[in-house]
């Protein structure tokens, strides 16, 4: 024990002390179904999750947090008969909240951005996920849901509705496939009927396009098609052709499609009659056009969410109101209208005492604007506010000892 303690860096012991005193006076958020939840923790001096912890009430949990100062605190999205039991069979699964997770690691276009920009990009995607999918399509109300900033690099949505509690992994994966349009096949959305031409003996296909107002991906695919047509029409022919070719249409096909759509006026006919075959009787061109719309639909309308988090019905997730051990930021619960203007480095900064700390840096840099202000850090010793110091310490940018010092 003593040996293990010695190997813990000064910085982490310092952070643990700050976390402990924070938890002494800041209660974590309420968790619905508290006594049916499993809790799990990580500590500054250990590399694994200490799971299978149960609490009778929030006061017990608070005492635990203040006493042990975990670096990360989690609770189960599942409800159990015996949350502290060590095997799933003994725990007795009763159901689980539906969770969506968006993390900078998975959000397209957030790679390599600085912390603030990266979080802004994730937030943008989060708003779409919440508005278009969770509320509009899946129909959950603000009362049944919570948006949570994770304290790190992303956001979660918790859905507490009874209707979803019993859904298994497979069903939850279906929801993810829906949101992300995984393997979307327009051949299924655009239902075609085969009209048997008695005289020609050749079966004729008639493909009915969905209307804008239709639910789910039907309406989306139609909107994507309409916007594609509009875009192609609004640019000069050469540019439109180049666009088609760059989306994978063969050169000659692109020329045929373009002239059918915009020179023979078939664009308007497709849109008013909502039948795909008015475009051309060349089947390969129809296929190419459908593939184009399919690509466009997915590219412009698919949502993003991290699949394993949603489909895992035994997952541990960050406890709202707790602190994130790699940033010191608070895990914050948000209402939808608070999300729009939410700035993690302003709004999720924990309320640490307001006193300066001396830290050492190996090089000069400008800190992230923790609490709204960036602090210039120079090489060597610096006196900076505690909240900035903890943030930089946990992100391993500064130390409490001069370089070469022990600790």
């Amino acid at each position: 024990m003593a040996a293990a303690q010695q190997s813990v860096p000064q910085e982490l012991l310092f952070a643990a002390r700050q976390f402990a005193s924070y938890y002494g006076s800041h209660p974590v958020a309420e968790v619905p179904g508290f006594s049916s939840r499993e809790f799990g923790f990580m500590f500054f001096d250990r590399g694994y999750v200490h799971r299978h912890v149960g609490f009778n009430d929030r006061a017990d949990l608070q005492k635990y947090l203040a006493g042990k100062a975990p670096s990360h605190a989690y609770y189960s999205t599942a409800y159990y008969e015996m949350p502290a039991a060590h095997t799933m069979a003994e725990k007795g699964w009763l159901g689980a909240d539906l969770i969506f997770d968006l993390d900078a690691d998975h959000v397209k276009g957030s790679e390599g951005l600085p912390y603030e920009k990266m979080l802004a990009r994730v937030k943008e995607e989060m708003i779409r996920l919440y508005d278009d999918f969770v509320c509009s399509d899946l129909g959950f109300s603000e009362k049944e849901t919570e948006i949570v900033f994770s304290g790190g690099r992303g956001y979660h949505i918790h859905v507490y509705a009874d209707s979803v509690r019993k859904l298994g992994s497979h069903e939850r994966r279906e929801i993810v496939d829906y949101i992300t349009a995984t393997e979307l096949d327009l051949g299924i959305l655009f239902s075609s009927t085969v009209v048997d031409e008695a005289r020609s003996g050749r079966p004729l296909k008639m493909t009915k396009l969905p209307e804008i107002s239709e639910g789910g991906w039907y309406g989306r695919a139609r909107r994507a098609m309409d916007s594609l047509l509009l875009e192609l029409q609004s640019v000069p022919k050469e540019e439109a052709l180049a666009m088609l070719v760059s989306s994978g249409v063969k050169k000659q096909q692109a020329a045929r499609l373009y002239s059918a759509l915009f020179e023979e006026g078939r664009k308007d006919r497709i849109q008013t009659e909502s039948v795909l075959e008015v475009l051309t009787d060349r089947e390969e061109d129809i296929r190419a056009f459908t593939a184009l719309v399919q690509k466009r639909t997915v590219l412009t309308m698919a949502g993003q969410t991290d699949e394993p988090v949603t489909s895992d019905t035994h997952r541990l997730i960050r406890l709202p109101g707790s602190l994130h051990g790699k940033s010191s930021l608070k895990v914050v619960t948000l209402k939808r209208d608070e999300l729009t203007d939410f700035e993690p480095l302003r709004d999720a900064v924990a309320d640490f005492p307001d006193h300066p700390v001396t830290v050492y840096s190996e090089k000069a840099f400008l800190s992230e604007p923790v609490g709204g202000e960036s602090v210039p850090v120079k090489e060597g010793a610096n006196e900076i506010p505690l909240r900035t110091a903890i943030f930089l310490i946990l992100r391993r940018k500064v130390r409490l000892q001069p370089p070469g010092g022990t600790g």
Partner: protein, 344 residues
Amino acid sequence: MALFPYTAEVRAFVNSNSYDIDTILTNPLLERVREKGKERVISSLREMKLGEQGLYNEEECRVEILAYVVSRMIASVIGDRFLINRLAVTEGKIASQRLTGDFGYMLLPLADEFGISPRPEGTDYSLDFASFLRYSSKMRSPEWKLLYQRVQGGRVVVDRHRLIRLVEQAVTDHLSERLPPYTDAIKNALEREIGEVVRILEDIKKEFQRDAFGEISPEKYPPCMREILRQIQNSENVPQMGRFAIVTFLHAIGMTAEQIFDTFSSVPDFRADRTRYQIEHITGKISSTEYSVPECSTMKSYGICFKPDALCARDWMKHPLTYYRQKGKKPITSSRRQQPGKQR
């Protein structure tokens, strides 16, 4: 009530009439009930039917309900998954036939019973997406994926045919998941009936292993499946429904997942991981659900009914597997000579 004997109403009826387990098991006056209960099991094993059902008067109905209770006890004591699933699937199929036929008025009450609570919307119905998922997730055909539903405000719209299919699945799930408890009393009292069912069960399992379709013979494939295979082997872009159809078809005629995989792997730009996942998804999962090959009408509406020939044009030709069975046989003269086990 006797037609759909798994409702809360029936449970209340059985309890209120003081048919305790002991009476059902031993009362000499209920010998006929036990006999019918056994028949119910055997007939669902053999031909996925429920045996003779009179149901002309109250007494008949009472017997039928109690026979259902006995059939569940027998299944519970034997505890064989195949048997339990088969019984559950049969009850589901029968429910579906009745709902499609004369007892359509029971659709909404029965749906409510299983927590589906559909709301009529014109000729269609809307239901909560989570209740939809609970049962649709057992069906692997892409058209059942949530992705292809009109999801709006938390609700999914289905037509009557699909709602019946969901209720069928609900019946099947309910019956395969919940069984009366095993007791020695049941085992002893129904010893003779159980013995008979077990013997038949063993025979049927053996028969199944022998493979209903015999050797796989590509020359009997219907033209649609040949065409889909040809497209796959030429690396043409086969729509999702086409891939689903060919995998279920090859699986149904007795190919293993590995053999199906091999059939596809000769393709130049073959994507092993994705294909393997899809094949295993469709064939691999052992559950109470049977993945069926899409029928001809479904193939047509997805535009994958390719090059129909003279055999396809026959009135009774409604399913690619029927084609496979019939091809190479003497033409059937009477439409009554159908293979057992498959709906016409």
